[in-house]
Subunit: 364 residues, 2 copies
Amino acid sequence: MKIGVLGGGQLARMIALAGYPLGLKFIVLDPDPNAGAGGLSEHLLGAYDDPDLLAQLAEKADVVTYEFENVPAHVAKFLSSHTLVYPPAGALAVAQDRLLEKNFFKDLGIRTAPFAPVDSLPDLQKAMPAIGYPAILKSRRMGYDGKGQVVLKSAEALESAWESMQGAASIVEGFVPFQREVSIIAARSPSGAIAYYPLSENQHRGGILRVAECCTNDPEQATAENYVSLLLEKLDYVGVIALELFDLNGELLANEFAPRVHNSGHWTIEGAETSQFENHLRAILDLPLGSTQPRGYAGMVNFIGGLADDAQLLNIPNTHLHLYDKTPRKGRKVAHATVRADSETAYRDALQHLAELALAVDDS
Amino acid sequence: MKIGVLGGGQLARMIALAGYPLGLKFIVLDPDPNAGAGGLSEHLLGAYDDPDLLAQLAEKADVVTYEFENVPAHVAKFLSSHTLVYPPAGALAVAQDRLLEKNFFKDLGIRTAPFAPVDSLPDLQKAMPAIGYPAILKSRRMGYDGKGQVVLKSAEALESAWESMQGAASIVEGFVPFQREVSIIAARSPSGAIAYYPLSENQHRGGILRVAECCTNDPEQATAENYVSLLLEKLDYVGVIALELFDLNGELLANEFAPRVHNSGHWTIEGAETSQFENHLRAILDLPLGSTQPRGYAGMVNFIGGLADDAQLLNIPNTHLHLYDKTPRKGRKVAHATVRADSETAYRDALQHLAELALAVDDS
């Protein structure tokens, strides 16, 4: 079987590494000649929406999946009409539009931060009394559109904030004074079988994930599983999904979901019986899902913008290194390291050490 | 860093899969256009002793290693004069010659089955009273020479047995009425650091390994570690080595060693903190060796000649599949499956189930 992947970065790389033992072959479409999954797969070099390359991908791959959610709708539609595409295009459509996504959560009865659609300055002005300050104005779509986000601290900022959106359909969201950010990763098969991983507790800085830790027996596990199961069923989803949540005084609020394998689940390579990458493949191939049971304590540290010395990292007990074969540049994820240990003390010591080394090279 | 591998079969494949996370690239030399490591590496297609290809391998690879021990001496010498080659050529020389190997054990004070060199029929006739029946006559060298082995049951068989060796320098070995076969896998760095894996207990049938199981806290662990450390030091060894031993009433007798990653250590991928493949790479790159601690109960079943259905295998709890991308044919290893479990019962049940499935397709 040959798996096609839109995107050939580190997620495709880790999918391929998980897939070889299952006897799979890979073909990626990526415009970067140095894409990290290139050496592990046949590489179609070009734009994600190049019709000829997409036709080749559809013809050569038994199933197509992707490593990012901003796949243009017409690309997903084209591929879906020529081959199996998982996760389904409907999940992409929701994940690509912040307003659809928030309304989707709301319709499923999952609480979110307060939000309102904004298509004009009056919309924004009208919404703010109920949303409250501070708040954040975001374009509904991102990635290919490249529109930004603006923090709103007071009513005086609204006009310039709206101007900066350049007329893009937007959404305003209130801040949630959450205690922690968590995510749940789950896999669903075409047959409807679902496997849930233990919650990850995630630390972001500057909008980039820095540390993700496995939370075995978390008190919010059941709630998170219920929420993600609602998404999976409603979307008739196939593959791995990640749902990011805020924990506000023991109540979970949905932030967003990613219809793909997710950085907050990288610890599953060593820290769970079956990795998210392998379970994504098992799901899209309708193979039995593997156990998601944690193996001891596990957590992951991202390396952003630079990497510590290999030997120094591998000298930290219980540390597993994952380099992405990417040239370091500002703000770019180039590697992660996972700690897996049987004792909590050994785990904490190693994770702390790694986090310090990551911070020292972090330029973002 | 680019690692060159002589041979592109399943061992090279698993070395490459372990090496990508360390940021390594691979180049293999293998005459088979469908070599299993081909898709994971640059593939030099041709004979193992092709001078042009060897020159390319030496030029492109920072370090060269191999997945089989029958590398011709002139090939090892050529490579060693142009690039780093680990394990060292001296270890190959010993491992390739059964008589050198047995004498090597003897000189280190490690007991073996009784043996004697045989270069003529009189040699054989003279040796047998001390060796005893049954015994086995083997050519000293194998692989490239392609000479065979003959079981000797009585003095009447000696003449025809010797004739069948076609004059090849040979060795006769007595049988050892051992209770079990075990192996110890260890890794040594250029700096002299050594990491030892827990013993594997191995079941062979027809000279082919069928099942290998991790033996945590085995009473013979310390003896085995001592024996393999003697080999490693004497050979000034770098990389992973496997020493096969017979357990005779609680005493260990050396059978043979393999200067490479070994089938009896495949369970380390899931069953140890760091796999033998990763530790082989760490060793030959002089990086810190990773922990060899077992993770629960672990064992491996080989699939010879054929493979059970993927979905059926993956449906067995705690099972991890490793397909080699090889076309099944009689007696050919095409895959292995590892069971890793936290409870002994779960482990035994799954291993038993796998062994039954493997036996059902086994044509050897």
